[in-house]
Amino acid sequence: MATTTTLPPRKTNRIGLEPAAYKGSRSTLCAGCGHNAITERIIEAFYEMGIEPHRVAKLSGIGCSSKSPAYFMGSTHGFNAVHGRMPSVATGTLLANRTLLGIGVSGDGDTASIGIGQFIHLMRRNLPLIYIIEDNGCYGLTKGQFSATADRGSVLKNGVVNDLPPIDTCALAVELGATYVARSFSGDKKQLLALLEGAIAHRGTAMLDVISPCVTFNDHEGSTKSYSYVKDHDEPLGDISFVPFFGDITVDYDPGSTTEVTLHDGSRLLLKKLDRTYDPTKKLEALRVMTEAHEKGEVITGLFYVNTEQPSFIDLLNIVDEPLATLPESKVRPPQSVLDEVMDSLK
């Protein structure tokens, strides 16, 4: 039987892939978990940027957050490593193949406690990696213990009060040498998407701390990482828009009120200024706004710092352009003459 049904044109991105190509397996995290919203934004960002899934490597440590790479880009290689040590695995992966686009997903326990050492050295190296902290201030997978990003005074479901100050991973990242540092909120679709797209376009460590309420253990009155607390206390640094290098989106900004940052691939980040002039290329400014926010009990979000000049770790190592992993034997095994030369020098 002949059919004349015409299918509506399929939605595809600039490389002809449908959104489904960026999806992963079904999430096994709790319904309503902030991490799932972040997963959705990651899918959207990679789709919109038209990144070929095979060019990406997904990396993670251990914890609820670290499960989430299974839930996006299912056809992409992923590595769920050991607790707190994703940075080293990511480093090895990107040294072996510099053409990969690395995205690492970690949590606040995985990053700020067990993994703080590797986190620090990753930031310091400015490895070209998107590093996302899905930050809920608690250990979800072991049933809700405080993490090192929990705010002082926040209360666990069972009444335990946190009396230690939080580690601000963004302040650390800025201080240590990461070249793209931002904080967002899993529920802020527009801001998170723009920041993720900017991170994809950036070449260097892009560190995104995303407040992501834990609906099971840390979404209640006493928590400063709950939906209601963050919604009430979110203080965006500015309205952020991302213009990809291939895009011609008209942005509804008054030129006088925006700061523009051009990223490595030609994409642009536009930041609409709020009540004060904020310059995301100044480290001191970044640290100042973060400290002020802590003092006021606000959760400040937005792009704190960006530096497109700093060479990445891969640049510093002066590695050949092709992936080291697949260099042919002729490039990696020196000829007989080299061995002879060494042997002669030892006689």
Partner: protein, 613 residues
Amino acid sequence: MATTHVAPAESEVAQQPDRVVNDLSIQVATVNGSGSQSSNMVLLRALFQMGIPISGKNLFPSNIEGLPTWFTIRASKHGWIARRKEIDFLVAMNAETGEEDVRSLEPGAACVYDEKLNLKRLRDDLSFYPVPFDQLVAPVCPDAKLRKLVRNMIYVGVVARLLQMDMGEVERALRKQFKKKVKAADLNFKAVLAGYEFAEKNLEKRDRFLVERMNANAGKILMEGNAAAALGCMMAGVTVVTWYPITPSSSLCETLITYMKRYRMDPETGKATFAIVQAEDELAAIGMVVGAGWAGARAMTSTAGPGISLMSEFVGLGYYAEVPGVIFDIQRVGPSTGLPTRTAQGDILSTALLSHGDTKHPLLFPASIGECYSMAIDAFDLAEELQTPVFVMSDLDLGMNYWMSDPFPYPDKPMRRGKVLDAEDLKRMGSFRRYKDVEGDGVGYRTLPGTNHPAAGYFTRGSGHNEDALYTEKGELYVRNMDRLQRKFETARRMAPGPVIEQAGNEVGVIAYGTTHWAAIECRDQLAREFGVEIDYCRIRAFPFTDEVAAFVRAHHRVYVVEQNRDAQLAGLLRLSLAADEISRLRSVLHYEGLPIDARSITDSIMTQEVGN
């Protein structure tokens, strides 16, 4: 065994020949940081160039300047290059240890010493040679700041004269040592000559020890094990090297950096065909190896016991997620910080089973610098073919000391990269299952990140997984996977280097591995010459053990497993691998004082144990 007689034969004790040629051990006792390493190398190299089989062992403290250090040179016309306990010729430069050093000498030994130390008073059964080092160095080296360093060159001249060394070779060795620094070489050679002339005029030769030119070293090289391993890694095509400094392993990666910068820069682009990273700790070093191995690079790290302990968790991940990587363990004395600058074979058992859960790993046991080189190459092939971490178990004695060898052969086989599917393969096959045992050898096919095919990607995890690399907690699937890993270990058994066996139907056998080999073969000679006891020998070169090892044990009534640790660690691994009637034949000879094992200790232990049989 025929004899129950333990005392060594008469000839060893009573008759002292007038001349002992090319058979002595020299010990130089100095303070570290005093530049004695150059002087000692000149002595060692000059003897080597004279064609006499030698070895040089540096016994040093975990310190940069000011503590006692000893350098021992053994020269043996018979080719025995293990450490000898007995010192024939002492150079005593260290006030702190001088008296004890002299007291420990065998009767008839010679002692060159700094006149100020007044050691002559201590014994009357030695030949003493006092030398006024301070007076001799002043005219040679007007610059007072350099004197401390040049002073030690004077004993080279004194020893050269007393042993009748070839001064042409001494000068050649010195100039090689200082390479292009001609001024420094000239200054130092002046000091050597000052010592030589002083000895010629003032010291009457009274001891028995001499050296003469031989021709045993034609074409041979002199090198440290860590440098040989580094060369092996470069020739193996390593591309990612991550490391954290630790004694006695650091010189492996440091030498590798030198080689790679020289020989592995792409001639067309001037860029590196490698990445070398000094990591923040051993956890990160092995994590980077795992990441790089997963992404398809030939990746390695090098460490010692404390680093191995730290790497435990990641090594378990490498085993379970099946990621290749090469780890060098340059063993030192544990537990804990232990004796960081002393040697041992003390990480065997813990490394074989490193990490929690059911894990086990192939180990290679190099005994020589030649094997440091060849096993480095083997290790990368094995790691990629087996998709698992592979350990090369060297030690401080091998890694940091100087050994002779024939020149290393160029690799005769191309690199074996293992079962890796590329996009073309996948196009043909349509799909693949990461952990499916297709060929029955327990090794699945893998793809690398970046492979341009929709079926290429899979999710690697240290949690339970099925053949498709998907998460599962099902007991049945867990068992199937673990049993496959066991099959893979059987494949490793077939692929690993087999033992070297010398067997002539004797009742007693000896098993040794790594650097213990050199003392073991000398012990065989001692047993034969002094006691008329012939024994068979099996040198194990890898874990898992091949079937030949069990056959060797079965073929003997008693098998002595000789090793440098307290807990008989390799014997323990053998016990896990052998049948009950084989296990009952095992005995142990153990040496764990931190100094390299010597033949006499093995001979004594075996003869003592044999008395009961």
